[in-house]
Amino acid sequence: MTILMYVFLGIGALFNGLGAVALHRFPDVYTRLHGATKCTTFGSIFSILAVVVYGAARGGPLGMSMVIRALLALVFLLLTNPTGSHALARAAHRAGIKPFRAVVDRLEEVGK
């Protein structure tokens, strides 16, 4: 059980770090959103799953309420994160930021 928790913590730290690095490596807003959203969502899910495992292994009222809150936080992140990044991407496009070196831009062609 403890091993599983360490593995989850490790995966979480690794992918969250990847998301933070992606913010600096990519050239424009849209590609940064790619890196940041995917990696931090995945990494945070695993960090929170580590807490779920920890709470379940611990048991008792405290451990179980830990599990419930961690699972709820996971659901909220999974629902809100992609929606937020979608809103930011659309806003960036409407604010007139061009995608870096884009081969094709169908949204520009429609003129919205």
Partner: protein, 88 residues
């Protein structure tokens, strides 16, 4: 004991990533870049709060994390709205 410590260490590592992201928040050339960095930081902060709540046995930090997750989502939506139309 050592298990709680490892949770706290993981939270500290994520805190380091928050500083890396806030670098982008500071230099980001366009407002949209800053908004993306802020969104990333929000996600990381929720994870940090959950980890710390488990490490310190404080349920109240986890409750704060839940509220923070929802409020930061609303905040992101408002920032996006502002980027779209300016301050009308």
């Amino acid at each position: 004991m050592i298990v709680e410590l490892s949770l706290a260490v993981a939270a500290a590592v994520l805190l380091g990533y928050v500083f890396v992201c806030s670098l982008r928040l500071a230099i980001g050339p366009t407002p949209a870049d800053r908004a993306v960095a802020l969104d990333t930081i929000n996600t990381l902060v929720v994870a940090i709060m959950v980890l710390l709540g488990a490490a310190l046995d404080l349920m109240i930090i986890m409750d704060v994390a839940l509220v923070y997750a929802l409020l930061s989502f609303v905040g992101t939506l408002y920032v996006a709205r502002y980027l779209e139309e300016g301050l009308k």
